[in-house]
Amino acid sequence: MTTVPLAAYVAVSAILFATGLIGVLIRRNFIIVLMAVEIMLNAANINLVAFSHYLESMAGQIVALFVIAIAAGEAAVGLAIIIVVFRGKISTNVDEMNLLKW
């Protein structure tokens, strides 16, 4: 049985991470920016699990679980912030969010 090299998984993860990074940079909608952050967290997870498999250690999978938990917290707080901002300004454009308080 042929096996997939570790570098292939890490390359996929690098491409996904760069996609998420581009998404954070170029989109103007705050919700899509948060989705792009989720893409980056998923890329990090692929990396962690791939190294965990190829280097025969459980640590990577445990840390990937913690990353998922932190992504859940980030999504909840980020979306709550979006709701507050939307209530005040009727906009989710990141360029227009330039005040800490209004």
Binding site: M1, V12, A18, L25, E56, A76, V77, L79
Partner: protein, 173 residues
Amino acid sequence: MVPVFFVYFSVVSILAGILTVALRNPVHCGLALLALLLHVAGLFVLLNAEFLFAVQVIVYAGAILVLYLFVLMLLNLKSEERYLHTKYAVLLFAGVAICGELVLLVLRSPFAGARGDAPSSAILKDGDSYAVGIKMFSEYLLPFEIVGVFLLGAIIGAIVLAKTPTAADAEGE
């Protein structure tokens, strides 16, 4: 069979990632993100991480994505005419350059390292959930508890932020 599935899952997840970033309508972006999450879960199965596969499907695709779609529906956004940043060409070029450099570096690296104590045969004997559980509740117990407190803080923070201001709050200020 494994390389075929690897190519399928990785190609579809990269395409779905690009669609998530590129599509105009936020709901379509959310659905592309769902495809990405499910295919990344498939990659986890190929890596002998069945427990993470289940967690990815239940927590990410089931809970986090529903939260995103719920907020999208709640806010009732119009799809904007200009949905990209004004200087997006420069930023896109920078991102693609970073991506190319990362992939070049990754493909040239040998990735040798110290081996751990959990080879595939040992994990497959009792199952991945067993191995994760034993490790998490022995060596990683303190981080696990810290993540629990962190999630509690996130819940309280989200409720406090998103609470509708009442008349009593206005009097207090």
